[in-house]
Symmetry: C2
């Protein structure tokens, strides 16, 4: 359960192989990654994925395909007429794309959905004998006290009680795991935003909830049993605890990566300021531009790492 | 918070309008259903959806499109060359299809993902002034002590401690809601399976978990901190508590429908017997046939309701 090695140089993690926290997998003749529609008996994982150094994950399959196209251009690996086929074409649960050392995977919405994807992704990286891998979630979120379009690099992923923990039920019993993230990686990403000077970026805590409406204090769901004042009080308490944005995947992402010794970060854009409203009603084109901001920041980070390697 | 009216005749619910448990929505000038990419200011909800009487939901968008094609044929509403466009084409979060009185919506994987969809779906039905609506989840699951391919009609949706409850954190505090389902509807669906005599069907409790690997006692995830014996003990305790299958959406589905007075049921096929293994490694064609079973059962139910109306 050791965390990844800490160094000052980005990209300097190449000797660290991806490990599982499960002795059973090494003894299996075949491992079917059901939700990816991939299996060790039908796919050559080391040949397909052995060179992966960066895995970027996000909710929407369309956005993750856009990201791989963007990375191909940025890394000079784009060839005219080249498409990037979905590696998980046998299923519509998740979508996966690759260019050079970058893998881009969609995870759907919420902790259970990203949790399945991460279990199968970490096993994929293990079977492929990958080393020195960094995982980054590039997502969308609701901001607290920030101008919409601001990017938040997560210092700590926290639960709805503002604790940096991920609680899970295993065999009917509650298990709590740390949701701490890599402080060095946060600083490296913040430096990348300073390099770009394209959009406001802050380091802050990210609150992860199991529900978008009542779970985030919204007043506009099918159910609502509290007042505007109750909501404002809760969001202000979150702000006082260092929370700058709210999303639905960060704690389990941090906890699973940490448990398997993977260096991980969360970079989300805020689509609205929750102190001012609940509905996401900005024009479509503006929301699309906002969603490209984490991609640009992380794209710059990957290029910088590769140049330093 | 009243549950739907109970009657002996299927389809006899036409005077019961869909209600919200939130007084705020009626006062809003516009309601943006963000994750459907639909808005009351750009779409005429009563014209588009006012005739909906049956809403079927399931994880996979491809499967929910297959279901609407199947229902079109079954209801005699299929026209040569007709396609069924995705009503939520502006987003890739969820997919929605409609034929006659049947709406088919995908919900992704897990409680948070289906929860967002249900909040926006129930608001959609409310804005459309729908009445007498029945919601049915048609899904996949892992069975306990059942032959793979068996269909389970859920008596009670239960949490990982086998309680028929859905626990949620609202404004940082735990709130528990009942996950009871409509007993009359369970009997009507069981009668439909008896009419068909196509596949084994049982009524049993359905356990809903937040995780597919550790949360369901699997031994083949990226993390596993228990033994085969621990797993077997847990699954046997679940069986003793009446649990016949495990999936990831039923408690919140039951709780939200109940809170809004909607008649609801859960019908899932089992893809494997968890007492005998963890991996889903049956041939693709067999799994596809299994997944059609809840569709055939619910299709028969809808036809029967419409004939009786």
């Amino acid at each position: 359960m050791a965390s990844g090695p800490k160094t000052k140089e980005p990209g300097y993690h190449n000797d660290h192989f991806v490990q599982l926290c499960n002795p059973n997998v090494a003894t299996m003749n075949e491992d079917v990654l059901y939700h990816f529609s991939l299996s060790t008996s039908t796919h050559d994982f080391p040949a397909l994925f052995g060179d992966v150094k960066f895995v970027c994950v996000g909710g929407s399959p369309t956005r993750m395909k856009d990201f791989i196209r963007y990375m191909a251009k940025e890394l000079g690996l784009d060839r005219p007429g080249t498409d990037y086929p979905n590696i998980c074409e046998g299923t519509d649960r998740y979508a996966m794309f690759k260019v050079g050392p970058v893998l881009s995977v969609s995870h759907g919405i919420g902790i259970p959905s990203i949790s399945i994807m991460l279990h199968e992704l970490i096993k994929l990286l293990y079977h492929a004998r990958c080393s020195g891998v960094t995982l980054i979630r590039i997502g969308t979120s609701g901001g607290i006290g920030l101008e919409p379009g601001s990017v938040v690099i997560t210092r700590e992923a926290v639960d709805p009680c503002f604790k940096p923990e991920f609680e899970q039920v295993v065999l009917g019993k509650r298990v709590v795991r740390s949701a701490h993230l890599d402080a060095q990686l946060v600083q490296e990403l913040m430096q990348c935003s300073a390099d770009l000077t394209e959009f406001p970026t802050v380091v802050g805590n990210t609150m992860c909830t199991l529900d978008f409406y009542e779970g985030q204090g919204r007043l506009d769901g099918a159910l609502c049993s509290y007042t505007e004042e109750d909501k404002q009080e809760y969001l202000r308490a979150a702000f006082a605890a260092g929370v700058r944005n709210i999303e639905m995947e960060s704690t389990v992402f941090a906890a699973l990566c940490r448990a398997c010794g993977l260096r991980a970060a969360v970079v989300c854009v805020t689509l609205l300021n929750r102190l001012e409203g609940d509905q996401i009603s900005s024009p479509h084109e503006l929301l699309v531009e906002y969603q490209q901001r984490p991609q640009r920041l992380v794209g710059h980070f990957i290029k910088k790492c590769l140049a330093a390697a």
